[in-house]
Amino acid sequence: MAENGEEKLLAVARHIAKTLGHNESMADDILQIFSTFDGRFSREKLSEGQPGEDGSTVSALERALNSLDSQISRFVAADQPIWSDPADSAAFLDAIDELVNITREWSHLANEKPVGACLARADEMLQQAMFRVEEEFRSLMERGAESFAVNNHRLDSDDEEEDVEGDDDYDGDQIPVAKPLTDYDLIIDALPSATINDLHEMAKRMLAAGFGKSCSHVYSTCRREFLEESVSRLGLKKLSIEEVHKMTWQELEDEIERWIKSANVALRILFPSERRLCDRVFFGFSSAADLSFMEVCRGSAVQILNFADAVAIGSRSPERLFKVLDVFETMRDLMGEFESVFSDQFCLVLKNEAVTIWKRLGEAVRGIFMELENLIRRDPAKAAVPGGGLHPITRYVMNYLRAACRSRQTLEQVFEESNGVPSKDSTLLTVQMSWIMELLESNLEVKSKVYKDPALCYLFLMNNGRYIVQKVKDGDLGLLLGEDWIRKHNAKVRQYHSSYQRSAWNKMLGLLKVDNTAAGMNGLGKTMKVKLKQFNVQFDETCKVHSTWVVFDEQLREELRISLARLLLPAYGNFIGRFQNLGDLGKGKNADKYIKYGVEDIEAHINELFKGSTTARK
């Protein structure tokens, strides 16, 4: 009974305190006064009971909150950065953690008015605290980035080969960048380790308190600024597609060089470094880490990709091939990096863009070859080389293709990506090369018809054909086109050779045929005299003209001469011999009078052929 009575008494006392006390501390004071009256109204007894059944256990909550309030308010009002002192920052975070714990413990009773009021107060304190944490977070990020920026000059393009290993200026806190720029296998700590830990501790609390968006926003803004600064230090300019389009070739070449360097540094060093930083600061909150990372890198990544895109969209002048291939190869080599750095859900778009642009660069390379095809097709037929020598377009195309084939592997890759249909014996690159060769040869054939003299026409084709085969034979181009192709073309050159011989010399050869059925000795003599006369004239004419023609290839020249000699000399010798043996040729004239050339003379003249006149020789 007594127990019950006491309970009732205590309950009444509590009730009085609750109703009379306009706030918790007043109620608390009232209870304090009661406790001085009567031992039964001890503080402990008044505080006992189920939480929520009376107001007094709430006071434990209130007391806790009061103590936290005074701590937190002190920090929040401080002018100095809290994080400049590790003891302060730890205490601040402890207070916050305690606040969060208390809130969590009591949250199931939020419906009860006194508890609810306490929780609202707690939330208010949390908001104030978080506000301050956010500011500290921002200033810590900015300070950290500043100190790195100062030491960041090692990544400038000017300081390529600088070896910093023996540099005494660096102490433990500063960023160790000891290797030259060309080695991309570099790990940078974007911020000092202690700073990163601090940031993580702050981020943890902010994310738990519902301040995640602000935290991520502050983080991204700060890091993005730093990253874009770093990228611009690499010399990469912000260029529109039109601006790239309008650049001179030299300017563009330089810009491409800078881009290659920047892209490598960004993808291999800067972005991974930012990713690591994100992962550390937002450790345990992967979604926030992913989102923040994307925000940080998006702008720079887009800038890098935009330039590559501009190159891909640009003009297709064949001289651009090698630089466009450089950009293609860089994108290809960085694809792995793109895949790994932009692997999360938010960066998927960036990764896909990179792939699209890489493919577009491949298209550009194929487009350049198409432009080359156009160039060949459109080369005017009228521009024939005097003397039937090597045409500039032959030289240009063959040297171009030889140079291009040095990048054979890359080109194979480029052409595999096209929509062409491969055959089982040849790659698409081979098909492209064969096609270009066909176009070149067709064009040359058209050009050859400009020459009125069919012999010159064949000589021209022989010269150019020979050059083509020489340039194909020893090199990647030959491997691409294959032995068969080479054999076929050599055969073609031989064919031109025989055609030349036939068209220029057959008639003369015909004159040298000794016809034994001529009527009588006299008749034969007369015929032979006429034939010899004709031969002399034709031979003179032909030699005069053909000496001005050019055969550039020494070996070919020799072959031609030898072949001609073999053709003419025996026949001529035979003819002359018969002629001389005829004896009397009427009117007492000597055979020798009609014989202008001895066999050696013929040979000598043949050896003068194809030297080219001073005007024809190029």
Binding site: D123, K213, H217, E243, I313, R316
Partner: protein, 382 residues
């Protein structure tokens, strides 16, 4: 020998394009009236698309994300038709005057590519505002009654938002805005506002500081004249669809620049189409409506005419004023007012959230198709 079977190009995707258009009826010697019909059909299609757009521009829908998306869809359709026409008559495009006319078109389309890239930046800008409005919402939209701390947080985000949405040219007013709000929050907040203003502006553009959207538009429109009768005759009428497509391209880019924030945004472009073109009236009608919109007092200095931007600006302004007017303790009346405004803000925010990503994808699609069209034509010149 495989090479002899090649007709130059490596089987472009054009060959898969519109096989039904180039079936056995349309051989190399296309009778004149078929071509005429084809070109006429194109003109009609363009006109129909823009009549539709006019119709759907009512009810305050003009320049909304939805409407602009429709505009981009229409552009893509017209572009496909155009592409088909060029493909069908590719034998003519390498000869004068079509070679010159088409090359001019593709030069202009490169300028359009840069506009697309700038618009992408602008969309990112809008996303930043979205983030801020998200913070405002999360600060105020809780089940607990609004506390001082939450209000402060909302206020900060609202100020950042207001500063962020200022037109670039209004540098002078930002400092006064920041000073006006000095009363709420300590001096430290002010400093951070200045910094965040810098953050919003200096970083986002992927183009150099000298790039100008308005100059780009002017260059796009430069010397855009209706085709000369000589050219029309010499090109068998092909000069007309090129002129049409160029005009459509210019209009679409102009609308994008009008709607989305970008560097040196200006709408002064000489854009007029002679009335005898079927699509001239609906296009010019839209043009005039948009110009009118840009001249409205409350939108004169905005950073983009996009309807959603207007809504965010207005509801955040209202919210800002409301927050300013709040005294603690919060009356129930005030509290419900806050909740109501939050609901409005949420509506705008959600609309933007849903629509922005697809819109960006569409702009990107436009970019890729313009590139593809150009590449294919260059390839066809073989």
């Amino acid at each position: 020998m495989p090479a002899t079977e090649f007709q130059g190009s490596f089987g472009r995707s054009l060959l898969t394009l519109r096989r039904d258009q180039t079936d056995s009826n349309h051989h190399h010697h296309q009778p004149q009236n078929t071509m005429e019909a084809e070109l006429d059909s194109f003109q009609r299609q363009v006109a129909e698309k823009f009549i539709d757009l006019n119709a759907s521009a009512g009810d305050n829908n003009l320049l909304s994300l939805d409407w602009i998306s429709k505009l981009l869809d229409s552009f893509l359709c017209c572009q496909e038709e155009f592409r088909a026409i060029i493909f069908n008559h590719r034998s003519q495009i390498s000869a004068p005057p079509m070679d010159r006319i088409l090359s001019d078109y593709f030069e202009r389309s490169i300028k359009a590519l840069d506009v697309c890239n700038a618009i992408r930046d602008g969309i990112e800008q809008i996303r930043q505002w979205q983030k801020l409005s998200d913070i405002v919402i999360s600060a105020l939209d809780s089940h607990r009654p609004v506390g001082e701390g939450q209000l402060r947080r909302a206020k900060k985000a609202l100020i950042d938002l207001a500063i962020g949405m200022l037109d670039e040219k209004d540098h002078s007013s930002t400092t006064s805005l920041a000073h006006r709000n000095r009363s709420f929050g300590r001096a430290k907040d002010n400093h951070s506002h200045h910094r965040s203003f810098g953050h919003f502006r200096s970083l986002s553009w992927s183009v150099s500081r000298s790039w100008s959207a308005s100059k780009q538009l002017q260059a796009l429109a430069n010397n855009l004249n209706t085709p000369k009768p000589n050219d029309v005759a010499a090109s068998n009428g092909l000069a007309v669809p090129v002129y049409t497509m160029t005009s459509v391209l210019l209009f679409v880019m102009w609308v994008l620049v009008a709607a989305i924030p970008c560097q040196d945004r200006g709408l002064q472009v000489n854009f007029s189409v002679p009335r005898h073109y079927q699509w001239a009236v609906p296009v010019m009608s839209l043009h005039d409506k948009i110009v009118e919109e840009s001249k409205r007092r409350d939108r004169k200095n905005c950073c983009g005419l996009l309807k959603e931007i207007d809504r965010i600006e207005k509801s955040s302004k209202v919210m800002n004023e409301l927050v300013d007017s709040i005294q603690f303790p919060l009356s129930e009346e005030k509290e419900s007012e806050v909740k109501q405004r939050v609901v409005e803000l949420v509506e705008v925010h959600e609309g933007l959230k849903k629509g922005l990503d697809p819109f960006e994808r569409k702009v990107r699609e436009v970019f890729h198709r313009i590139v593809r069209s150009r590449t294919e034509s260059l390839d066809s010149l073989c």
